[in-house]
């Protein structure tokens, strides 16, 4: 399935990274935090850097902000080479993890800080800070100190402090990490709304795949200092480029074996891998699999197994099905109107899915 996001080929490039590499010396050993990253971020795009901790996503963002200098490579902001430009001379602003609000200043002074440094006129500071506080819904709280505010409010102050400068791009380093789930979900929508409203390029660092999928136009999935896949959320989910991406984004089942004639035999079952031969690994999402008591007919992948666990999760049921070789497959079944389960623990069942839902890696 093709990616539906509007920005597949960046036209107006806000941020360009060209073979950017970052090395540290730690305990006398050279460590490569980022091992050559190349990417373009389009104007107005919501771009996410997604990966587990230590994958290099934060270092990459800090290099865009100017806090770290790349050991090699070029960084351009709107076509201008900024590789050696200090952070205070870059037209990007950052929302820090845990916000880094100035504790000795009021909300108003925090938000006005950047404009004051840019020698903006008093009237304009007043107008723009007022407007910005309205956008983030903090009007009337101007005189508060950061520590007198809740986490969500501090988050919005941090956002306002960066956005009020009208940067060409906004960098966000796990900005919702410190919030509880409910607030995080609300802030995700809020961030999306604000981004639409101000029309600024957002670069978003997160380890939370749901967050990245919900908000991003495009996602770069990183691992060990390299980009594993760079695509829209739909493509990343439906067509993971590597086993790592498949495992990191959402839940997925992995089957490996030797294919002959476009079919991978697994015990009594079969997995269709059209046109593949030899060692293959097959990824299939739990919600694409159908569960039935009888062996399915037709041109589908089909595997027999025994239900080892059924978990009721409200909107869907989750089954764990043990195959003959001991592998366990997860299956999600939409909780339909009759609210019954197809199988109980211990039942023998058949799993089936269409060939298009197998994502096959290998020869």
């Amino acid at each position: 399935m093709a990616d539906q996001s509007p920005i597949d080929t960046p036209t107006d490039r806000a941020i360009e990274l060209e073979d950017v590499l970052k090395e540290y010396v730690s305990h006398g050993e050279v460590v490569q935090a980022v091992k050559g990253v190349t990417l373009d971020i389009a104007e107005g795009e919501f771009f996410s850097l997604l990966g587990p901790s230590g994958c290099g996503k934060t270092t990459t963002m800090r290099m865009i902000a100017g806090f770290e200098e790349p050991s090699k490579g070029v960084i351009r902001l709107h076509g201008r080479d900024v590789t050696d430009v200090p952070p205070n001379k870059r037209d990007v602003n950052m929302v820090f993890q845990s916000y880094a609000l100035f504790p000795h200043m009021s909300v108003w002074d925090n938000v006005a800080f950047g404009l004051k440094q840019k020698k903006t006129s008093r009237e304009e500071i007043k107008r723009r800070v007022g407007e910005m506080l309205e956008i983030v819904d903090l009007t009337g709280r101007e005189k508060r100190r950061p520590r007198e505010m809740s986490g969500g409010q501090q988050q919005r102050v941090a956002l306002a402090r960066a956005l009020v400068n009208r940067p060409r791009a906004l960098l966000l380093d796990e900005p919702l990490g410190a919030l509880d789930l409910k607030l995080r979900q609300a802030m995700q929508l809020e961030l999306k709304r604000i981004q639409r409203e101000v029309g600024i390029t957002f670069v978003y660092v997160t380890h939370d795949q749901n967050e990245a999928l919900t908000m991003s136009d495009r996602i770069a999935v990183m691992k060990d200092g390299l980009i594993e896949q760079l695509a829209g959320p739909r493509e990343i989910y439906e067509r993971p480029a590597t086993t790592f991406v498949a495992g990191f984004i959402g839940t997925s089942n992995l089957l490996t074996g030797t294919a002959t004639g476009g079919v991978l035999k697994v015990g009594e079952g079969r997995v269709l891998v059209p046109g593949k031969e030899g060692e293959v690994s097959v990824t299939v999402r739990p919600e694409k699999i159908t569960l039935a008591k009888q062996e399915p007919s037709g041109d589908v992948s089909a595997l027999p197994g025994t239900v080892s666990e059924v978990v009721y999760l409200g909107t869907y049921n989750s089954y764990a099905v043990r195959l003959a070789d001991g592998d366990e497959i997860t299956v999600f079944e939409q909780n339909a109107h009759d609210a019954t389960v197809t199988a109980e623990r211990g039942d023998s069942v058949w799993l089936s899915w269409q060939a298009q839902h197998s994502y096959v890696m290998g020869s």
Partner: protein, 283 residues
């Protein structure tokens, strides 16, 4: 019972303070209003004149002490702040080593340290003697027995008490705040002035208190390094008490010094009160 526990736990320290601070203070207040001499004994006469006499006689030394104390405190601030800053932000994993080095001189007695400064600064000592033999300084140049020697000694002796509280307040400044300021177009200098400095002011405040008070009252440095022309109020009190046995005058001077310092601190706190300082820095 549980509600009383914290008070019971605090009781020993309260009793300690009551016995060893309040009682001597009360005794001293009483002595400062008595008249008499050590042979015939002292009687309470409520002679507030003691204060006027003491102040009239020794106002020079009192003013000099405040001047030396203030100068030394300023010098400590100028020298100590960069040291604290360096340890807090550049000390890395060796922070505790540097702090230990800072405290190492305290393993030697205060008086001995001051006397060794006397050796260092002696007219024909290691420093001046060498410079004189090279012809850099004239033969009659001296440092000992000058106000410079006393202030230098005070600065040296109390410096760690300036550095430590400033270090503690700088240590708590999140380096990301500096990054945030730089991200918001501030230069390194502005980031320091608008963010780091205001956040370290509580430490500066504490450091000044912890050094100005003892430096002003200190008798050792003036005695060892100051010769005869640089007597401080601490020396006078000591002499009145231990040599002249004029307990009322010594007590009156002690109280006067305490009052002056307390008023000074109060004014200082009002003018530079931490909350106000922070407000001002935000503008």
């Amino acid at each position: 019972m549980r509600r009383l526990t914290p008070y019971l736990l605090a009781l020993p320290s309260w009793m300690w303070l009551a016995i060893f601070l309040v009682v001597p203070l009360a005794a001293m207040a009483s002595v400062s209003l008595q008249t008499g001499n050590v042979i015939d004994g002292f009687v309470m006469t409520f002679s507030f004149g003691n204060y006027g006499d003491a102040l009239g006689t020794y106002s020079t030394q009192l003013v000099r002490s405040l001047g030396y104390g203030a100068t030394a405190t300023a010098a400590m601030l100028v020298i100590g702040y960069p040291v604290a800053y360096w340890i807090a932000f550049k000390g890395g994993s060796r922070k505790s080593v540097y702090l230990f080095l800072l405290l190492l001189p305290f393993f030697v007695s205060f008086v001995l340290r001051t006397i060794s400064w006397g050796f260092l600064l002696a007219d024909d000592g290691i420093v001046l003697g060498t410079l004189k033999s090279w012809g850099v300084l004239s033969a009659d140049f001296h440092v000992l027995a000058t106000s410079f020697a006393v202030i230098a000694g005070l600065t040296y002796n109390w410096l760690p008490f300036m550095i430590l509280p400033i270090y503690v307040s700088l240590e708590r400044v999140d380096p990301r705040l500096v990054e945030a300021a730089q991200d918001l177009y501030a230069t390194r200098g502005t980031a320091f002035r608008k963010v780091v400095l205001p956040l370290s002011l509580p430490g500066v405040f504490a450091g000044v208190l912890m050094t100005f008070v003892p430096a002003t009252a200190d008798p050792v440095n003036a005695q060892v390094l100051g010769g005869t022309g640089n007597t401080m109020i601490g020396n006078i009190i000591q002499t009145e008490y231990l040599v002249n046995n004029d307990y009322p005058t010594a007590s009156a001077l002690s109280f006067t010094l305490m009052a002056v310092l307390l008023v000074g601190i109060f004014v200082y706190a009002r003018v530079l009160g931490t909350e106000n300082v922070l407000e001002a820095a935000a503008r």
